[in-house]
Amino acid sequence: MNGFTATIERVFLPMANKVNNQRHLAAIRDGFIAGMPLALAGALAAMFNNVFLLPWSLVGELLNRMAWYHESVQPFLSETLIPIFDQIWWGGVGLSVITTIFAIAYNLAKKLGEEEALIPGMVAVICYVVLTPQSQSFNIAGAIYEHSGVYMAEAVYQSFWGVLSWNSFNSQAIFAGLITALLTTELFCWLKSKGLIIKMPDGVPPAVSKAFSAVLPAGISLFVVAAVSVFFLRVLNAPFQVWINELLQAPLVRLGQSPISLIFLMTLSQFLWFFGVHGMLIVEPALGLMYGPAGAANQELVMQGLEPAYAITRNFIDVYGMHGGSGATLGLIVAIFIVGKKPHHRALAKMSLAPGIFQINEPMIFGLPLVLNPIMAIPFILVPAITIAIAWFFTAVVPFAGYLWTGGPWTTPPVISAFLASGGDIGATILAAGTFVLSIALYIPFVILANKEKSPDEE
């Protein structure tokens, strides 16, 4: 154990410190956190529609079997609440790349010591628009002709000016947005640091003076980005967003769909938690980059009336592997209630039950303790990996559970979180309940073992 602890101190703790203090990763993390209230509002709006309000939703379908509901309530909902929630989703999630770019640029500018971080935030958003084509081509139906007895329409593409593609603002554009935010802010702040600013006389109001000081860095940043945009559009024949998606984002998202990637990252995080290091700090950037676009894409597909495409999303871990918090400790609490004999364990389990239901497990982690507890190391590290592997099998291989495409706050109780995140899918809910029961069963032998262990005050 001491050797392991020394390795943790020497290798992982400095790595966690480095990741945590790396300004770009910290800006991305803080930017996403800042956008969380909007994303959550959008996700909840999508969930309300797709679980309760739409006529084909789980609850809506049941209610529409009653004639009075179908004839008087549903038409009212279809004209009022459903479009309202749709619009909330459209702004909160559908176009969230805009707010994400601003928030990341704002946070990075602050970390670079920029007093007026609002301006680089705005510059980053506008630079992103500069990278977006001004016109779009659409396939408009051409001449109709008959081919082997089948009538077909000739594909005719027409370009429309002043139309932005949603693909530049949806889940496919997340990486392009992040890169734009980081690079344009670095450029803006670097230009300012080199003294490329217009200085106003002392009598000019500070707000005006600050705005003028940004004229040259903003102008040069826009020029550079516009040149990049033209290069992509004219030389590479596709927008920046498309190239970034195909070269970086799509391969990384595909890599994330392997259960091995998810299980490796999660087990590493659990391993570090066990030694008292904030494991998520190391793995969260990878999780966010691989699973953020997948979750957003699933949500967009459902909102368009299509089936979600990605089996593994960021909240897959919380829904199937973290019942009651990291290490699936709600399973441990129930296992203690069933076979635990130590009064200290039983008292702690009672005290930890209520927070555990809401995914808070610090009382168990530090109270039992789970940290540095050699008996509990095995289940604490491995239970989430096992339940995740089983959940993946019954989601991606055997299509028993529906894909997760939305979600509530992280404090949503286990099983309920599966119901909500899958838009009311019964298979996903049963699977979450099943993995929860499995976590209890996996913890039971270790609680029995812990019963036999003498605590220091018993010795």
Binding site: I8, E9, L13, A16, N17, N20, N21, W273, F275, G276, V277, H278, G279, L281, E362, I365, F366, P369, V371, L372, P456
Partner: protein, 71 residues
């Protein structure tokens, strides 16, 4: 009095808190990760919050998993 549970960086935590103008003093260490501190501040909750913020401000403080309980 408050207790800090942290299996990591215990030496740094003690040194850091004891250098805060005499506001915090380690009373005892219990087990492998409990550090009991007494404080000269009247409001114990505020003292625990200050201790937490002080630790979190360190480059290493953001990466360790610790908990503070007021006794």
């Amino acid at each position: 009095m408050f207790v800090i549970n942290s299996p990591r960086n215990q030496k740094e935590i003690i040194e850091l808190l004891e250098s805060q103008d005499g506001k915090f003093k380690l009373v005892e260490k219990e087990g492998i990760m409990k550090m009991v501190f007494e404080t000269t501040m009247e409001d114990k909750e505020a003292a625990a919050k200050l201790a937490k913020e002080t630790i979190k401000k360190q480059t290493w403080g953001k990466s360790i998993y610790f908990q503070i309980e007021v006794k």
